[in-house]
């Protein structure tokens, strides 16, 4: 058994261990936990769900983008745009569809027209009247609406 690391995953501080087994034995994932709670279900979902991609259009080109690279999705004049570090792609999906697809992971609706990737937010600062300003890792700033602050806190288990 090789002890690999101790990580925080879905708000659970867990140890990761890997055991190399003979080829005859079936490979398996065993989760040892104190209780099967929401965090455990999220880990199971993450294991079961293959890494999906977001389809973005840049002119006539079609790009497959990893959700990990997306900073935020924004709806502007009935069009949805995907913002990554260097490019802005257009999506053919509606914002609510994107929210349904990725909302259970690290994406969160932060205003009527925006879904942000929490992992790309460096910090937040107050922006008057219960709103917050999110500063992304590329120093871009966007507003988090007052009515979505509660959802952000829930997502971060606050």
């Amino acid at each position: 058994m090789i002890y690999l690391a101790r990580i925080m995953i879905y708000h659970k501080n867990m140890k990761i261990s890997i055991e190399e087994i003979p080829g005859a034995r079936e490979e398996e994932i065993v989760i040892r936990c104190h209780a099967i709670d929401e965090g455990i279900y999220q880990i199971i979902n993450r294991i079961k769900t293959p890494e999906d991609t977001v389809i973005g259009f840049l002119g006539n080109q079609i790009h497959r983008i990893s959700p990990r690279d997306v900073f935020y999705f924004e709806a502007v004049d009935n069009k949805v745009f995907i913002y990554t570090k260097n490019e802005v792609y257009e999506s053919k999906q509606k914002l609510y569809e994107i929210e349904e697809m990725y909302g259970s992971r690290f994406f969160l609706r932060t205003s009527k027209s925006m879904i942000m990737n929490i992992k790309k937010i460096k910090y937040v600062s107050p922006a008057f009247n219960g709103r917050f300003e999110a500063c992304f890792i590329n120093d871009e700033k966007q507003i988090i609406s007052r009515q979505y602050v509660g959802a952000l806190k829930s997502k971060l288990m606050l």
Binding site: L4, A5, R6, M8, K112, P126, F128, G130, K153, L156
Partner: protein, 156 residues
Amino acid sequence: MTIKNILRSMLNDYFIICTGIIACQLVLRSIYAPDNDLTLNELVFILFGGAIFTLPHLSFLSNKELSIRQWKKRRVIHFIVLEITVVCCAYLFGWLEGANLLEVLTLMLSVLAVYVLVWLISWQIDKGSSELINRKLAEFHEADEETANIERHFDK
């Protein structure tokens, strides 16, 4: 803020204003004029005035989320409109006995003091919330970095 949010905020503030005025009246009259009861007319003024004082909220009306810069501009407009509304109401309802400049200035300064105080309190609450959120975000990033390290370990 959309019209739905503005109306919700106005309704919320209407009840806070009315309750606040009645509470102030209770305290001040108990101390300075214990025999002077609230009349029916005064109650109507409080209920009517509360509705009027929420109207400047409409200055925040916008279909899109306001940027910090836009918000600051609207906040200044809101304050000016609120000051004008309060002074106009004071004249109309006869709250200013002498109606001289000093009395008007005192009233305007009182509004400014309450405005700044409310803003400071809400700023402090938001600052506390942002610190909590930032702490959790830091934990999130730390976990992400460790996961990335594990992935790098497997890639080798």
